[in-house]
């Protein structure tokens, strides 16, 4: 922790970071995002295995868009999101630094998203055993069972949009749900509106989702949103090639191959 605080203090002192987005102790055993721009508050910061929020989500929020020099505590999930966001040209006017944990839990400073991209491991984000189990159960379902499953699940969705707010890749200033001319998504949180919303969100995540699990973690109703993105990523990989997070790969739907394979278009 000492090394961590030292790195942050130096970043703030040198002006390389005007704002540090890190973690602090939250309610009970929780860790939560912390925003620090004063070197005197550095002691508040922690970075351990319980830190799970994907802090890259804040980089595109209107409140922080104008801050140029930002240092972010980056978990592997955060790193993936940062690299994709950088690939989507979201940080062109930003000077970002990242604090990551190496295998021995030592804090490490990385400057610039390009450098972070080289640092990124190739391994996928692991699901919890409960998630794996649920996914396996889901894969075994028939079409009718899957429909019934989501009917049940989405009947609990209140459209609080926490999944959208917590998603680092959901940075549009005007989301499809708020476009009302025409009204793409039914306004009421009726089942149909909820299906439309979650299908729309998945489609807009195609080839962009970094599989960080923020959406599911944010859902107050505990909807198994990872199933949606996991299955989509798997299917995309099966038909369109590996899903590699890097600065220069174009997302799946931004490009094409003349010989893309499918078996359902006649």
């Amino acid at each position: 922790m000492k090394r961590l605080h030292q790195i942050v203090s130096e970043l703030l002192a040198s002006g390389k970071a005007k704002l540090v987005i890190g973690y602090e102790k939250g309610t009970g055993e929780k860790r939560r995002p912390a925003f620090i721009s004063d070197a005197n508050e550095v002691e508040r910061l922690v970075f351990d295995s319980q830190c799970s929020h994907n802090l890259s989500v804040y980089l595109t929020k209107p409140e922080y868009k104008h801050v140029t020099e930002i240092a972010v505590f980056a978990t592997p999930q955060t790193m993936r999101a940062v690299v994709r966001l950088a690939g989507e040209n979201q940080f062109q006017d930003k000077k970002l630094s990242f604090i990551v944990m190496d295998q021995d839990q030592n804090a490490l400073l990385i400057e610039g998203a390009e450098v972070l991209a080289n640092h990124l491991g190739k391994e996928k984000i692991a699901l919890s055993s409960a998630q794996e189990e649920l996914l396996a159960k889901f894969e075994a379902m028939s079409r009718e069972e899957r429909f019934a499953y989501w009917k049940e699940q989405l009947s609990n969705c209140v459209k609080c949009y926490a999944c959208r707010a917590a998603c680092p890749m959901c940075y549009c200033t005007r989301c499809t749900v708020e476009v009302n001319q025409p009204q793409w998504i039914s306004v009421p949180s009726s089942l149909q509106g909820n299906f439309e919303y979650h299908i729309m969100r998945a489609m807009h995540m195609a080839g962009r989702c970094v599989d960080c699990g923020s959406c599911e973690a944010a859902c107050p109703l505990g909807l198994p949103l990872n199933i949606i993105t996991r299955r989509m990523i798997k299917d995309i990989e099966a038909s369109l090639g590996p899903d590699i997070v890097s600065m220069d790969t174009k997302s799946v739907l931004n490009t094409f191959q003349p010989n893309d394979k499918e078996n359902f278009i006649r």
Binding site: W150, Q192, F256
Partner: protein, 143 residues
């Protein structure tokens, strides 16, 4: 009841629409249960249009455009193809009945193929019956 099904066809202006025209001028008879909506290109057909079609009463959907390499805009259909690959996967996750969506390539010269696509699709949708399963999701709980 099963005669009352509605099939909406989202077609590209340059190939399938012209193909459908040819079907007509060739006097090939095909099902009248299909309503054609013309688009500049399959690349323009947003997936939300298909969702809206189901929500507003369509029991089946046909999406059709130029064959690969024949796009009037060079690559619109290539983009569309990728979109449909992903969309089909997402719909299957949600248990939406993808048998009700027929994707096809029909060129301006394929009047007979258009008739065949429409007829087989309409027949299949008639077998499946109206898509009430999805439409019943709409609406708000009664007090």
């Amino acid at each position: 009841m099963e005669n009352n099904i509605k099939v909406v066809a989202f077609v590209c202006n340059w190939c399938t629409y012209a193909g459908a025209d040819l079907t007509g001028t060739s006097r090939i008879k095909y099902s009248s249960d299909v309503k054609i909506v013309r688009f500049p290109c399959t690349g323009r057909i947003d997936f939300m249009l298909l969702m809206k079609a189901f929500a507003e009463g369509a029991d089946g959907i046909i999406v059709s455009g130029c064959h690969p390499n024949d796009c009037h805009y060079t690559s619109g259909n290539f983009h569309a193809r990728r979109r449909w690959i992903v969309f089909k996967s997402v719909l299957e996750t949600f248990g939406i009945d993808t048998r009700r969506i027929q994707f096809s390539w029909v060129s301006a010269a394929e009047g007979a193929k258009w008739a065949e696509i429409v007829n087989t699709t309409v027949e299949r949708i008639k077998e499946l019956g109206p898509y009430t399963e999805y439409r019943e999701l709409a609406g708000v709980e009664a007090p």
